[in-house]
């Protein structure tokens, strides 16, 4: 059987759902947007306009779930990379909103740039399991900081042929984003709606608040039926209650409020049930991504999302380490297993350390490797007639070996064994003679080769020129 890791029983899932409904009905959620409040009121919510608080009912949540599609496309510039949700096998994403980079050449930490985002796109395209690219750092070298979001999105779209996810931080960014998407597709607004090559993350602000600018920007985006990732981030013990259970209930309540707002704004908006919960360092209050409790909560959120029948995405493969090394490796394994073992659709977080604030291109490669090991573990032990090799045992009998059995040679080419490319398994002397290289060295070599090669699926020059003109206009006008 497969190796699964549920953390909530069916009864516990229902209990958390009820808790979340109670939070929405009795405590309410702050929505600092007249537009959203009036939509909520028309949809049946009790609204306190002075406090900007809406009290959302269970019936509203039920209606929103009926309106939300359960299956949809995350399209890609290269159709070969189109991703249908829910997936049949977990895939990978970066996280967003970091600011630093471990420089690939010097190893020094510095602020991230547009060139780094371009390099990320290239490395991302070379990782088969990587399917959704959230622009992972805020480039510090955009000519106008108010256009940085648009520039980051555009840079990702130019440099990856896979699906791009980002954020609509303000409504005034949206016309430029739509123009860029039209340029990439060489099409119209209808093509943007149909192909869905762009989706947006929407973060609530814990506890129980929405952010006006991002909310109104994302509400405007729903007109184009772009998928929206619901992304609550309460930190257990500071911006969330200090039990994993209640922190999940709070996060779920925030997501249900987002679900209701978007389905009321544009019924049928595709939504991904996401999660980026955390706990804090007991002493400093720092948000801990790499902690075990963090990922237990994420596993619970994945179960909640599946209970609701929505595609799921969760922050995982995370680390609070300040460097690519032992701590990062340990935390990333511990924060990947609970997701692979709950069949999340998309894991969000490869390539980043320091609480997803810092990018390492080598870490992208290492994380894809960690992911594959976790996936193999999740696959478990397949006890079936096809893999019943009694005849081999009988043939070899006592002593001897199985190396020459046909089934052995076949199995070595199957998914029975994961053949690691980053762990060569040399003996000590061979390893030392080859320069005592570790995983990071092999990852570095791999990245160097990817960056030196031509792009796998480059955007044509005319389209890129058109996008750069839109970027320039955004920089001039935003």
């Amino acid at each position: 059987m497969r190796m699964n890791a549920p953390v909530l029983s069916p009864e516990e899932i229902k209990r958390i759902h009820k808790d979340s409904i109670r939070i929405l009905e009795e405590v309410g959620v702050k929505v600092p947007s007249e537009k959203a409040l009036s939509i909520l009121e028309a949809g049946g919510a009790k609204v306190d306009y002075d406090k900007q608080v809406a009290y959302i009912t269970e019936a509203m949540v039920d209606a929103a779930f009926k309106a939300a599609p359960k299956e949809f496309l995350l399209g890609a510039r290269n159709r070969e990379h189109d991703l249908w949700l829910p997936t049949t096998r977990t895939v990978l994403n970066m996280d967003g909103c970091g600011s630093n980079v471990i420089d690939f050449n010097t190893g020094e930490k510095r602020l991230g740039t547009l060139q780094d985002l371009a390099d990320v796109g290239k490395v991302f395209d070379a990782i088969p399991q990587a399917k959704v690219l959230w622009s992972c750092i805020h480039p510090e070298d955009t000519p106008n900081s108010r256009a940085a979001g648009v520039w980051a999105t555009a840079t990702s779209l130019i440099n990856t042929c896979k699906h791009v996810q980002d954020e609509v931080q303000r409504e005034d960014e949206l016309p430029y984003i739509i123009e860029i998407l039209k340029a990439v597709l060489g099409g119209t607004e209808e093509d943007v709606i149909e192909r869905k090559i762009y989706s947006a993350t929407y973060c609530t602000v814990a506890p129980l608040c929405h952010d006006k600018e991002m909310l109104e920007g994302t509400m405007a985006l729903t007109k184009y039926k772009a998928p929206v990732l619901l992304y609550p981030m309460p930190a257990c013990g500071s911006t969330g209650p200090a039990s994993l259970y209640s922190n999940v209930a709070l996060a779920n309540a925030e997501s249900l409020s987002s679900l209701v707002i978007y389905q009321l704004t544009t019924p049928g908006t595709p939504l991904i049930y996401g999660s980026a919960l955390g706990r804090i360092n007991l002493k400093t209050g720092a948000f801990l991504e790499g902690a075990v409790e963090t990922e237990l909560m994420m596993a619970a959120m994945v179960q909640m999302g599946k209970y609701y029948g929505l595609p799921t995405m969760a922050a995982g493969c995370l680390s609070d380490a300040n460097s690519v090394g032992m701590q990062a490796a340990m935390e990333k394994v511990l924060t990947t297993v609970p997701l692979t073992h709950n069949d999340v659709d998309i894991i969000q977080g490869i390539g980043l350390i320091e609480g997803s604030m810092t990018l390492s291109l080598e870490q992208m490669i290492i994380d894809a490797e960690i992911f594959e090991h976790c996936m193999r573990m999740h696959q478990g032990i397949d006890v079936c007639d096809d893999k019943d090799y009694f005849e081999d045992i009988k043939a070899v009998a006592q002593g001897g070996h199985f190396l020459k059995q046909k089934s052995t040679r076949k199995a070595f080419r199957s998914d029975e064994f994961y053949n690691s490319k980053l762990i060569p398994g040399d003996t000590y002397d061979t390893w030392k003679a080859a320069g005592s290289k570790d995983m990071k060295d092999y990852a570095h070599e791999k990245v160097a080769a990817i960056l030196a090669a031509d792009p796998v699926c480059p955007l044509d020059a005319n389209t890129e020129k058109l996008i750069r003109e839109i970027m320039a206009e955004a920089a001039a006008k935003l």
Partner: protein, 213 residues
């Protein structure tokens, strides 16, 4: 337990109501304010700080102690101003704010608690505060240190904008500006000519002490 001991305990327990009650009692009984501070409330916050250093107190304990201390100080504030013998340890003033467009409160709150626990007089200006309102508050409060928090890559720009506005108003030399928040770092602090940056609340206290030397 004498009243000074009770004051210390109230702060250590993070008991705001008790701290207020004892501060009011001190005023009613005309107790010597310097002693009320040194042997009562300040002694409490100092011990809380020590317990935190010793890892017996965690962050929530310290936040509660700091808030109890602040509640007592608010009661005593008027009387202290009018008492030439009483000083609040001649505390340096720190104004903390989360910049405009950013509603994230927690980092600033933690820094405020740590600063209070370390003897600073802390003014919390709130979150998502317009840059011009920050400038107005700097004029009004005249802080020694201005701490600017930003949790978003999209709002960290405001830290630089506020520094530029301080320069334009001729206020830049009167206040040390320190910055914090997940996306910022020393390179960013250098770029926007802040006086310092720290990546956690304990370091922020040390930084504030450092820039005031």
């Amino acid at each position: 337990m004498d009243i000074y001991e009770l004051m210390k305990e109230a702060v250590l327990d993070g008991d705001e109501e008790e701290a207020v009650r004892l501060a009011e009692q001190a005023l009613e009984e005309g107790l010597e304010l310097q002693k009320v501070m040194d042997e009562g409330f300040l002694a409490g916050i100092q011990e809380a700080g020590q317990l935190y250093e010793d890892e017996e107190y965690f962050l929530p304990d310290l936040v509660c102690s700091a808030d109890a201390m602040k509640c007592a100080l608010e009661v005593l504030d008027e009387a202290m101003k009018n008492d030439p013998n009483a000083q609040k340890g001649a505390a340096a003033k720190v104004a903390l704010v989360t910049v405009q467009g950013d509603v994230h409160d927690i980092g600033k709150t933690i820094v405020g608690a740590m600063m209070t626990a370390s003897g600073f007089e802390v003014y919390d200006l709130g979150t998502d505060v317009l840059n011009e309102d920050v400038i107005a508050k700097v004029k009004e409060i005249d802080p020694d240190v201005l701490g600017l928090s930003a949790l978003l890559t999209t709002t960290m720009e405001e830290q630089g904008n506020i520094i530029e506005m301080l320069k334009a108003e001729g206020l830049r030399d009167d206040v040390k500006v320190i910055i914090g928040g997940a996306p910022v770092n020393q390179a960013w602090a250098d770029k926007i000519t802040a006086d310092g940056y720290s990546d956690n609340a304990i370091a922020a206290v040390k930084l504030a002490q450092e820039v005031l030397k």
